[in-house]
């Protein structure tokens, strides 16, 4: 996946531990974002309408995670592994190209 700052690190896979024996002795590493996808926490998901997007990148600038990246075609995309659904992007978007929708899981 291309982002403005290069490739998203390969091998980022969510670790799902099914039994207590699989857990490490101490609560370390599990908390790294390579295995702990904070996008899990999301209730509302940003949906981007490319037709309304004017490529101002204000959403990219304001995203606190940062889960918004700039696609090769110049429009913006969302890294849903890490987007917590805070809605700041939708709030800041001057053309209302981003809407927050309830996510069905």
């Amino acid at each position: 996946m291309n982002t403005l700052f290069g490739e998203k690190k390969e091998g980022a896979t969510k670790i799902v531990l099914k039994s207590v024996d699989e857990y490490p002795e101490a609560p370390v590493s599990l908390g790294t974002t390579l295995s702990n996808f904070t996008g899990d926490w999301r209730t509302f998901i940003p949906v981007i309408d490319d037709d309304k997007c004017v490529k101002c990148y204000i959403c990219w600038k304001f995203c606190p995670e940062p889960a918004i990246f700039i696609r090769e075609d110049g429009y913006v995309g969302v890294d849903y592994d890490y987007c917590k659904g805070c809605g700041i992007c939708a709030n800041e978007c001057p053309t209302k190209a981003i809407t927050m929708e309830k996510e069905e899981k």
């Binding site: 531990l17 207590v20 857990y23 101490a26 609560p27 370390v28 590493s29 599990l30 908390g31 790294t32």
Partner: protein, 395 residues
Amino acid sequence: MEYKPVRKVVSGNYAAAYAVKHARVEVVAAYPITPQTSIIEKIAEFIANGEIDNIQYVPVESEHSAMAASIGASATGARAFTATSAQGLALMHEMLHWAAGARLPIVMVDVNRAMAPPWSVWDDQTDSLSQRDTGWMQFYAENNQEVYDGVLMAFKIAETVNLPAMVIESAFILSHTYDVVEMIPQELVDEFLPPRKPLYTLTDFDNPISVGALGTPNDYYEFRYKLAKAMEDAKKVIHEVGKEFGERFGRDYSQMIELYRTEDADFVFMGMGSLMGTVKQAVDVLREEGYKVGAAKVRWFRPFPSEELYELAKDVQAIAVLDRNFSFGQEGILFNEAKGVLYNTDAKPLMKNYIVGLGGRDFTVNDVRKIAENMKAIIDKGELDVEVDWYHLKR
């Protein structure tokens, strides 16, 4: 190398400082508080005199920071130590959870001191027992020798099970009173206590980790179970390390409850810490006078020696639990725990709680005799007069 102890006359606090030196502790972060101060002063003196090298002494601005710094040090893989008392320990409380939760084998000496108000600097176990549920192991020393031995063993046990441990000594009764302590030559301590092998380290840059990260409801529960199991496993490790200590240095700590003349005892006195030195002496006197009594000294309060208590309770008619502490709204803390352990067993000795020595109130052999007379009357009658007896109260 043959074991030839080096005998020194030291206070309990100096015994702790010597143990820190011999354990080759790498980081000491501490804040002074009476009656703990002379521990860290002595360590600072060792460092200033060049008697210890490869150690970082971090003078911090509060006990909360002392524990925070110890946690940071321990997370890098270093052997970390701190010491405190009473209000200082209370100020550390939040950080104690962080240390145990992250499974860091920090060793701390807590000099038992009464909680204020009224302001007090004297002996009382309520400060350490208030930290019962933080996930720290707790060892109660009876004398200066046990302070020294306790610190060395605590490091070995803590680093085996990856849990922090408190070694607890009595304010002034031990901390500032001088006694002969047999110290172990450095080479033999090194054999007993090799360098720490950490579970993980923050300074392994090829394998970066995050410590103290978020645990969602999906993961938190499992880590609590792991911690609970480590506490349970610690009992076996305590037994093994205590036994090894006995084989190497002649003082056996394999039992979590030390039994003194309990074989044919009708009833026993149970308690923790320096109190039990007096009780053991009283047992000798009472035996001369015809009482069939014994003493059961609880060395490790966490993990709690449930199995050993059950074995003891099977063979006696009654147990007098001496608590130098109190849980307000209930009863003495050791009494409460001991009764709880025995509820689902067949052993049902009469159990009475004596609240003694709070805030440094003197507790003597004569007091133990009076308690023995009271216990005998209870056993003859077959029922308790009161369950919780505020023994010293001016009536």
